[in-house]
Structure formats: C-alpha cells, structure tokens
Amino acid sequence: MKRWNNKAWLLVVPMLALVAFSAVIPLMTVVNYSVQDSFGNNEFFWVGTEWFQEVLRSERFHNALLRNLAFSGIVLVIEIPLGIAVALCMPRRGPMVSVCLVLMALPLLIPWNVVGTIWQIFGRADIGLLGYSLAGAGLDYNYAQNPLDAWFTIILMDVWHWTSLVVLLCYSGLVAVPDAYYQAARIDGASRWAVFLNIQLPRLKRVLLIAILLRFMDSFMIYTEPFVLTGGGPGNSTTFLSIDLVQMAIGQFDLGPAAAMSLVYFLIILLLSWIFYTIMTSTDDAAGSPGS
C-alpha cells in the first residue's frame, strides 16, 4: 500500500520554477522564433520549417560545422594522450603532489576571455613574446592573416587551458590503483608498457570516458577564444558554429534562422554526446561486471 503525500510538491516546485525560467522558457522562446518570421512591430508570421531548411542547406552552416568537428577532433587527439602522459608522470605521494595539483589546477581557474587575451598578446609579433621569438627565428607567424597560424594558436590555447582537466581526472583514476597491482606486476617481471596497458589503462577507462565527453562537449561549443583572438578570422577560417550564430543573431538580426540554427546546433551536440556515450559504455558493458 502506497500513501500519497502531496506535500512533496512543495519541495519540488521551487526547483521546477527555477528550471522553467532558466531553461525551459528560454528554449521555448527560441523554438517560437525558429518557426516564425517577423518584420518588427511584434507581428509574427508562421513559416513552418523554412528556416531549418535554409540553415541545413546553407554552405555557411556546413563549413562552420566542419570547422567545429575538425577542432574537436584535433583537440581530443592531442589533449587525451597528453593528459594521460602528464598524469603518469605525476608523483603518487610526497610533498610534490600538492605542488603538481596546484600547478595543474591553475589554468582551469582562468576565465576563457582572459585566456584568449593572454594568447592574443603573447602571439603578437610586435609585443608578444611568442610572436616576437618566432619572428626572430625567421618564422612567418601571424594569426591575424594566416588561417593556419590562427588555428595553431587557438588549438594551443585550448590545449594549454584544458589538458589539465584530463590530467586531473586521469590522476584521480591512477591514484586509486592499489599498490599491490604494481607489486604483483613487478614480481611477474612485467614491463612498464605492460603495466600501463594491462593495469593502468583499464583502470582509467571510466574517467577517460568522462574526460572525453567533457572535452568534446566543451570544445564543440568553443566561442570565446577565437572571438577574442580574431573574431572568427582571418576571413571565415575560425568562424565556428557559435561565432556564426552570434553574428547571425546579433550582427545581422536574423532571429528566425539564428533560432533554427541554435536548435540544430543543440541537437548536434546532444546527438554526438549520446553516440559517444553509447559507444563507450557499450564496450564497458561487454566486459560486464556482475561480480563487482
């Protein structure tokens, strides 16, 4: 027999209200814009899926999406192995542990736009240390004119800013490995590589799953760094979906297409994250764990 107690709603309602105002209502407003056209005066006309079709067919959207995918791909390929490698190098105990942890946490505490500004100045050939040294070494480095240099700078920025997140996650996974595992491997005479492959990597699987997901979602939503660095340039070379979206909505004031695009953008992130998650957890389930 279950007794219903309606007082529980009192506890839920504040949360519901908060979520409604912060997420549901804004989202529905976006949905509202995405299916209507307006010529001002608060007059709206129903246009159905027209904006969605326009966005999905436009080359501008395709290019920005490709840039996003390329960026996330490159960032993951660099940050995940690098993060694991750095975590493996960190000491497991002793006074250096806290020093390392603080050093690793430092970049994470810096706001995005500050990171952007730091690197923007750092990379300038006239006053920036990096730009000046590269120029001095005879390299023609200029992120404001050369798309490749702009990409290089943004990726470097992201790696600098976020690799430590992967490091910290991996480190927490590594510290959780009991010493007895390493002892057993030593007694067996297992090589360093075998220890990594057979003991450490399997143990890191779960935290890596989280690291990849977080880094993917975050990098896919990149906005501030390219915005601060070149505002999406040179040309359109660093115009990612988010930058494009802002230009469309606030620059051109095309609210309908911008709303449609932001919904598509949102669905893409959701879909990709879901795919990532399913693939990674299904390999986990294949191994199964009824015993533990």
């Binding site: 002892q183 007694i187 057979n198 399997p202 199964g288």
Partner: protein, 359 residues
C-alpha cells in the same frame, strides 16, 4: 630453505622490522601471525625482494639473494585484495608470469590448464576477472602463483576478504596445492584460529619483531612471553595480577588455591593469563573457584556466548558453551580453574604454562 639473518628494516627513521631471524623450509606451511601493522607485510616484501632490508642477510638455499631483483627470484605473491589484470582473460592472467618468462606456448597451455584444474576454475578461463565473484577472483590469483611454479610463495592474508564458507574451502586446499610443488609457503594472517587450523609452523609477530617461532601448537601452548600469548589468543587473553603466597594466589580481594603447575614458583607477584574458554558458568573440576563478576556485555555467536564482565578491577571475557543472555550490570557467578592459568613474570616472560592434560 630461506634463512633470514638479523634482518632489520628502517623506514623514515622508524624500525618496521627489528632483528628478524627465521629459517623457513618447504616441509610445512609457515605462518606469520600478528595484528595489523605488526610487520607481516613488510617482512614478506623483504622476503620477496620488493624491498631491501636495511641490514642483515637473506639466504636462499645457502646463497645470499640481497640485491637480486624481484623478477629474477622466482617468487609468487597473493594479496588480500584480489589482484588480477582487469583487461586480460582468466587464461591470460594465469599465463602472464609464464609469458614474461618466455615459456613456449604449448607448455603454457598445459601449465595453465593444470593450475586451473587444481583450483577448479577450468570453466572460467575465457572470462575476465570483472565477471567473477570474489572467491573466483582469488582462485585466479592463486592459480597464477601456482602456474608459475615459484620456489617461494607468499600469501598475504589471502582469505581475509572472502566469506566464511569459501575461506574454509580454500584454507584446507591451500597447503596441499603448494606443498606438491616443493615451494616454501609463507602465509600471513591476523587470526589465531586460522593459524591453528593451518597447523604447520607459526612465527608470532609484534611491533616488527618475531616474538616466537616454532610448531604452531607448541607456540600456542607454550607462549614464550605475555606478548606472544596475547597475539596468539582470540578472543583476547584475560590478564590479571596475582601474588603467590605459599599455596594461595591473591587476585584482588580473592584468594584462590594454587594450581599444581605452579607449585615450584617462588612467592612473588605474577601476571596470570587465562584463556576465555577456561572461564565457565558451571563448576568444572574440583579446583574450580567461584568468583562474582559484573556483566558489561554478553554476545551470542550461535552455539557459544561471550560474556564480558568486570572483576578485580579488570575487564574480562569468558567464552562459554550454550546461549546465555545477561543484562548489563547483572552480578553473576563464574568459575575459574587455577590449573589452567599461565604465569608470567613481571617482565612478561613465561614462568609456567598449564600442564598439557589440562588445557
């Protein structure tokens, strides 16, 4: 034969092993018995070669093995945690030390099959450790040690994390499995009962020292000192201070008759050790003495009861047959048999143990 000669181990200025002298052979299981942090694991690590002793020597069949790296020593170790390679199948887990030794694959299959058969995990060979229960995981770890055919097998509380039934099953198998290989078998445990069940030889460890080493039953019956007796007693040994005066023992305000074993002791102050099962609720034997105790807690273990009580300004425990429930603060009659007392001098050395027929 493994000989440890004056082995010391100092970690961060603190002695974790002090003057350990042991000679272990392969004709009986060697048990290291001691509470946690008594140095059992440290001693095993030193024996294995994972750690270097700070001083002293370790001889294996007469030759010093100090400085020989662990992977060249042909040792196997099984831990309290179930240590297996999580990503490898059970087969590969058992085969892993053989692969490192570059054994050819046909004899690997044969050896793995044999070890798996002995531990009854043949039908699990294709699974990964995560799919196994705790007992099965530990069997895999044991099979790995078995397949390696190591000359020195170190088992560090291997059954501590298993449930009661599995523990009994594996405990009776273990010595047989490894003795067939002629390996020196070392088994660390915190439980006196486990040591008694395994028989063999026992080294009683306390605070980094081996207090006593000998045949398990001998060490149990004739502890060298009060520390060894305490370590080797579960439930804990009851200890009281007595003064012997002629044929009488003064224990608090009580005067007890002297047991026949203590006739030759000089008149002075002693500490007596009384095993909990020698305190009873009924008079047994003509020498039994009635005392009055105040119950603090009584616990039931199934067919027996623990009665914690206060007597002569000390906290005592009696282990009695049957189920008895007493309320806190209740005054009850208990019986002590002076024939079963262990006498220790004030410095802790054993003065007199009870006679064999009495214990």
């Amino acid at each position: 034969m493994l000989e440890l000669i004056q082995v010391n181990k100092v970690v961060d200025g603190e002695a974790t092993l002090e003057d350990v002298n042991l000679t272990l052979s392969n004709n009986a299981i060697n048990i290291l018995l001691g509470p946690t942090l008594s140095g059992k694991t440290t001693l095993m690590r030193v024996m294995a070669g994972l750690d270097r002793p700070s001083s002293g020597d370790i001889l294996f069949n007469g030759e010093s093995v100090i400085g020989v790296p662990v992977q060249k020593r042909n040792v196997a170790m099984v831990y309290q945690q179930f240590i297996n390679y999580p990503s490898l199948t059970v087969f590969e887990n058992i085969a892993s030390p053989l692969r490192v030794l570059k054994v050819d694959s046909r004899s690997i299959i044969k050896k793995v099959q044999r070890a798996a058969a002995m531990l009854q995990i043949t039908d699990l060979l294709d699974r990964t450790p995560e799919q196994l229960s705790g007992g099965q995981q530990q069997r895999v770890a044991l099979a790995r040690a078995l397949a390696k055919r190591a000359k020195l097998v170190l088992l560090d509380e291997p059954l501590a994390n298993l449930d009661y039934k599995l523990r009994e099953e594996l405990r009776s198998d273990l010595p047989k499995l490894f003795s067939e290989q002629g390996a020196i078998l070392v088994y660390a445990t915190t439980e006196p009962i486990e040591a008694l069940l395994l028989a063999g030889k026992t080294a009683v460890m306390h605070e980094g020292r081996v207090r006593q080493f000998g045949t398990t039953i001998e060490v149990f019956n004739n502890p060298r000192d009060i520390t060894a007796a305490r370590v080797f007693s579960d439930p804990p040994l009851n200890i009281g201070t007595v003064t012997k005066m002629g044929a009488l023992l003064n224990l608090g305000e009580y005067s007890l008759p002297l047991g026949s074993q203590a006739n030759d002791l000089t008149d002075t102050e002693y500490q007596v050790g009384i095993r909990p099962h020698n305190i009873s609720l009924n008079r047994d034997g003509e020498n039994s003495v009635e005392i009055l105790g105040t119950v603090t807690v009584s616990e039931i273990t199934g067919s027996e009861s623990f009665i914690h009580f206060h007597f002569a300004d000390c906290h005592w425990v009696a282990l009695v047959h049957g189920i008895h429930i007493f309320g806190q603060g209740e005054e009850i009659q208990l019986y002590l048999n002076p024939e079963t007392f262990y006498f220790f001098y004030r410095d802790g050395k054993l003065a007199q143990a009870p006679e064999d027929s009495i214990r």
